[in-house]
């Protein structure tokens, strides 16, 4: 009797265990496959989320936010482009997160960081931020972002200046906001103001992924500013724009043309601003799937 029981136990150990481990490995591989070709995510509409949260709306908003940011991070790490549907999901996610907790700062910051530069969905970003302003009425950052969007992306300098003034009135706003708002009204979009904006965002940010992206943007803008400054000096002395930026190097205004970290080539726009063929965005990866 004892031998039989020992025999059965040995059988379990030698056969069942390895079989399970094998199946375990296969199962996880299958799941990885499924997730690779996963469609853009789904978020439950806000009213249902609110009810189902059963009093834990704040916690659910944290969870949904993590889902949104890991969704984007996932695409980013795999170097996959965000499709229009992806962005729709992402935007809607942030809508739901802010419906669950409209005071939550992170979705507004993330929305500003990604919906503008990456998705080019300026109106939606502004809509999100304006919603937040109604609740976070002590927070200067939100009208600041809206103002920036208006002047930098939408070229609406009047509105931009208005929002920045609003931000400047709020407690805790940085000293430079008042002068920035004033200068905006005067200069219109120049790279230098964008530089200051990014420097501030970078200093405040806690997330590594976002930090890297902003460092890059900061770098390209610093270099654009560098070139613009040289360009300005050239204009002051020659009363006209150079034919090509290379002339700035040749005539000694620049030591060398700093490379574009996004891999594009510098040029001058008709209105005299410096731009790059890369448009300050990462190039499309080679089409794989």
């Amino acid at each position: 009797m004892r031998w039989r029981r020992a025999g059965i136990n040995a059988l379990m150990l030698v056969v069942l265990l390895p079989v399970y481990l094998f199946l375990h490995g296969i199962s996880w591989e299958q799941r990885a496959e499924v997730r690779r070709s996963s469609p853009p995510g789904y978020t439950m509409p806000a009213p249902f989320s609110r009810v189902l949260a059963m009093g834990y709306q704040g916690l659910l908003s944290d969870y949904e936010f993590l889902r949104a940011i890991t969704f984007y991070g996932d695409r980013s790490v795999k170097q996959e482009r965000m499709s229009a549907a992806d962005w729709d999901f992402f935007t809607y996610s942030l809508e739901v997160v802010t419906d669950l907790d409209p005071y939550f700062l992170d979705p507004y910051v993330l929305g500003e960081g990604l919906l503008t530069w990456d998705a080019q969905r300026f109106e939606e970003a502004n809509a999100l931020l304006t919603k937040g302003m109604a609740y976070r009425d002590w927070d200067w950052q939100l009208p600041y972002y809206v103002g920036f969007n208006h002047f930098y992306f939408l070229k609406d300098y009047a509105s931009g200046s208005e929002y920045l003034m609003q931000a400047a009135e709020m407690p805790g706003s940085p000293a430079f906001l008042k002068t920035l708002a004033a200068r905006l009204a005067y200069y219109g979009g120049k790279s230098q103001t964008a530089l200051l904006f990014l420097q501030q965002m970078l200093a405040q940010s806690n997330s590594d992924t976002l930090k890297q992206r902003m460092q890059k943007r900061l770098l390209v803008l610093e270099r654009a500013v560098q070139i613009e400054k040289a360009l300005q000096r050239y204009r002051n002395e020659h009363d006209t724009d150079p034919v090509a930026l290379q002339m700035l190097v040749e005539e000694g205004y620049l030591q060398k043309l700093p490379p574009d970290p996004y891999g594009g080539e510098w040029g001058i726009l008709r209105n005299g601003r410096v731009y790059s063929t890369s448009k300050f965005v990462d190039p499309k990866p080679a089409q794989s799937k």
Binding site: P47, R50, M54, G58, D101, V109, S205
Partner: protein, 272 residues
């Protein structure tokens, strides 16, 4: 009379505290508190809010488990195992019994919450120390008020448990009804306001009868959202004393009504 009620409360509380399940609940809560420290790093700015969210969730959920499992057990065991015969053989009126058991449950909840609050305070202070820049609006005052109102919510839940225990003989039925009352109480405000906003926007989501039924339900079931200060605590929003007072009075009123009804029903019960 007060001494008797107090003696029963003390005995009930002791029974509850020495229940081994409590240990499991505490472990779970501590686990969430620890998780909170790890999870905070995933967020960008509003770390204070996330920390508060998780802490308050841990405290309130531990309280729920405590009331639904240990609380109901404390009420049902007396009748199942006929310990109530022993208790009622002493000069307890039925009303004193109800109030004594209720206060015992509340005492149990308060003690557990107090213990968890110590750990929670340590966690929040710890995360605060790790990321001081990201604790923008957080104030300890609002945080403690939120915990106090969680305790009030749980006290209300205890009253619901005592009430249903007085009515039914099965602890399972008590559990089902108490959980149902809680779920309805927590979501009724959300549902009603959603329906109202939809109606205002001209969209008809639900029929008139449904809306009326829900409004009746809203009268019967306590609105747990009135005791929910989690958002205020997460962002350090201002609390108006008038609102706090009204909510507390509302809760206390409901508790007293429930206990009074429970006493009425309990007086008519027979114990075989």
């Amino acid at each position: 009379m007060l001494k008797r009620v107090g003696a029963l409360a003390l005995v009930t509380c002791k029974e509850g505290i020495r229940d081994r399940s409590l240990f499991g609940i505490l472990l779970f809560a501590l686990f969430v508190l620890g998780l909170n420290v790890a999870v905070a790093g995933f967020f960008m700015r509003d770390l204070g809010k996330v920390t508060v969210d998780m802490n308050l969730a841990a405290l309130s959920f531990a309280g729920l488990l405590l009331v639904f499992f240990i609380g109901i057990n404390l009420m049902a065991k007396d009748i199942d195992k006929k310990t109530i015969h022993l208790v009622l053989s002493k000069p307890f009126s039925r009303g004193e019994y109800i109030y004594g058991k209720y206060l015992g449950l509340v005492l149990l909840v308060v003690c557990t919450l107090a213990l968890l609050l110590v750990f929670s305070t340590a966690t929040v202070a710890g995360v605060h120390a790790m990321y001081p820049a990201y604790f923008g609006g957080f104030t300890w005052g609002v945080y403690f008020w939120a915990v106090a109102f969680i305790a009030l919510q749980l006290a209300l839940l205890c009253a619901i448990v005592v009430f249903f225990s007085a009515i039914t003989t099965s602890s399972f039925i008590t559990l089902i009804f108490s959980v149902a009352s809680y779920l309805v109480g927590v979501s009724i405000e959300e549902v009603l306001f959603y329906l109202k906003s939809q109606a205002a926007a001209g969209e008809v989501v639900a029929s008139e009868t449904l809306r009326t039924v829900l409004e009746v339900v809203a009268w019967l079931v306590p609105n747990f959202a009135a005791f929910d200060l989690k958002t205020e605590a997460a962002h350090g929003l201002v609390l108006e004393p008038a609102r706090l007072f009204t909510s507390a009075a509302y809760g206390a009123g409901y508790i007293l009504i429930l206990l009074w009804l429970a006493t009425l029903i309990f007086r008519r019960r027979e114990f075989n």
